[in-house]
Amino acid sequence: DAVDLTDMFGEIQSPNFPDSYPSDSEVTWNISVPDGFRIKLYFMHFDLESSYLCEYDYVKIEAEDQVLATFCGRETTDTEQAPGQQAILSPGSYMGLTFRSDFSNEERFTGFEAHYTAVDVDECLEKSDEELACDHYCHNYIGGYYCSCRFGYILHSDNRTCKVECSDNLFTQRSGVITSADFPNPYPKSSDCLYRVELEDGFFITLQFEDSIDIEDHPEVSCPYDYIKIKAGPLEFGPFCGEKSPGRIETQTNSVQILFHSDNSGENRGWKLSYTATGNLCPLVQPPINGKIDPLQARYTFKDQVVISCNPGYKVLKGDVESDTFQIECLKDGTWSNKVPICKMADCRAPAELEHGFITFTSRSNLTTYRSAIRYSCQRPYYHMAPNVTGMYTCDENGVWRSEELGTKLPSCQPVCGRPARPLPGIIKR
């Protein structure tokens, strides 16, 4: 006979208990509890006929595909085992108990009384099998457990492994460093990371892996678990795994996709690469007379920019526009965006007129360029300069007339007071 027991606890007695059990009988109890539990069985009474290796009467306890114990007699001897006070634990959520008696029971053995209860399984302590253990954090609760992940990670749909959201890494700088997540700590499982390097058309990207990488591999099969693949325009590089670095990769393009896949197991450090980008070379440029170029480099490639500026007292002249600096850029076809402009001496141009005053140029040809000088004066005797300054102005390096006393402000010619052209009959001492 078989009896199915599905409660979380219960008791089991031998037939006719507490009277003696019948001969020639066999009963099996199938105990099942929910997953996340196991069964603890213990005997409150045990009295069976003993025999060598319990071949006559016995109680056999099994679980899934293994015999946990076979009991008979009253006491444990060196050839047969009685349960005594010990409890028997099932490895999983199922336990089978079989009672068998043979044809004789002269001594009227009374059989047994057992109890069982479901006990929680602390999967966090017991999941030694990496395949099942939580990847980062395990949280046990009665009847089960769940996993959680470190900050920055998210739990995979297998509810066990931790992955990262890494499908939108975009790099647009002309150089940079890319690594697997958390490098050099083990990279996340169950992840498909995409790293894109997108530069302007005209750049060519070069990848340089570090000397060693550590990506889970297989001795015979090429990268069946984790791998890194590189797509660069029409070209495809990889898949790479194991510890041999892919080294330097010239992609010949301005757009690269790096795909890194990891499955749900393994603890490997991952990989690191640096990338650079160069474009076509532009010819070297010479600074203009009375000017300079910045930065001065041995070579200039696509997107490199240089700023042309002039020495003090000179202005950059492009077309007929003057400015302090002028910037040109190396284009993707290896030519410069503009010709190098010239440096023109700063010109203050005609100085502002002064009402009731006039201007004297110190140079014969009335120069108004850098370092030229003029002097303002007022129409004496009717006007005088206010404030009382020399009226000297020099054309400064920015092309502005500047006085040491007033800066760029102009004086004014104020009327002279109280000095008639025709002298008044003053006070004549007699």
């Binding site: 009731h356 129409q379 009717y382 006007y383 104020q414 009327p415 002279v416 007071c417 109280g418 000095r419 008639p420 052209a421 025709r422 002298p423 008044l424 009959p425 003053g426 006070i427």
Partner: protein, 271 residues
């Protein structure tokens, strides 16, 4: 100007003739006075020259449209040779007292600036410490004007002459500053309610004979600073006793400009 003499053209380049023709009244009300040019836009004068002639004692400036200012003028018969300007703004001193002529000072802003030259030049305001002390007693000063030069003419004759200027050629006279106490005493001992305040000073001769007179109002009483040699306006022709100008012991009374330098700068700006 009583007892004075013809000025040479260009001797008083700050002298301004201010003509007021109040066409809003019937018959037209017309009078004139003098002023002193301070800059290319401002003229200093006496407040009573520009006060609207009203029977009540309110102090209201005449309408600026009724005022014309002449500069660089010497012979009033040749006004065309002078520079004339209309008026942008009139500022009477808020404290001007029509009863005793205290704070008898005003400013006129010309609508268009004037260019300086040998016949047009501003007078200086008291600026240096010594000048700011005001005129010292017995110091000689000069004052010019186109006012009455014949003391015997009567006021009615003046008015009936339609207020033409009373002297064609600019006249000037040299007058000593009278000690304040003496002048105060001479006026306040008379009948009538005269008061010579601290904002005034007197100038003239005890025995008379030289004086300013009707029509000279607002003209500058200038004193040459011995240090800088520049001519400084220390007074403005303001008022005098009812007797004929130049009578014995009748001093001309002048607004003391050194008390109003801040007031002027407040309106004119430090220029």
């Amino acid at each position: 100007i009583i007892g004075g003499r013809n000025a040479e053209p260009g001797s008083f380049p700050w002298q301004a003739l201010i003509v007021v023709e109040d066409t809003s009244r019937v018959p037209n009300d017309k009078w004139f006075g003098s002023g002193a040019l301070l800059s290319d836009s401002w003229v200093l004068t006496a407040a009573h020259v520009l006060r609207s002639q009203r029977r009540d004692n309110t102090v209201i400036p005449v309408s600026k449209e009724h005022v014309t200012v002449y500069l660089g003028l010497h012979d009033v018969r040749r006004k065309t040779a002078a520079v004339n300007r209309t008026v942008e703004k009139i500022v009477l001193h808020a404290g001007f007292d029509i009863q005793n002529y205290n704070h008898d000072i005003a400013l006129v802003k010309l609508k268009e600036r004037v260019a300086m030259g040998p016949h047009v030049m501003p007078v200086c305001l008291p600026q240096f410490e010594r000048e700011l002390e005001g005129p010292h007693p017995n110091t000689l000063g000069l004052v010019a004007g186109w006012g009455i030069s014949n003391p015997n003419i009567t006021v009615d004759e003046i008015i009936s002459s339609g207020m033409r200027t009373l002297s064609d050629i600019l006249q000037y006279v040299k007058l000593p500053v009278v000690p304040h106490a003496e002048c105060k005493e001479s006026y306040e001992s008379r009948s009538g309610n005269y008061s010579v305040t601290e904002n005034m000073f007197c100038a003239g001769y005890y025995e008379g004979g030289k004086d300013t007179c009707l029509g000279d109002s607002g003209g500058a009483f200038v004193i040459q600073d011995p240090g800088t040699q520049r001519w400084v306006a220390q007074g403005l022709v303001s008022w005098g006793g009812p007797e004929e100008c130049g009578s014995k012991q009748v001093y001309g009374v002048y607004t003391k400009v050194s008390n109003y330098v801040d007031w002027v700068e407040e309106h004119v700006g430090a220029s």
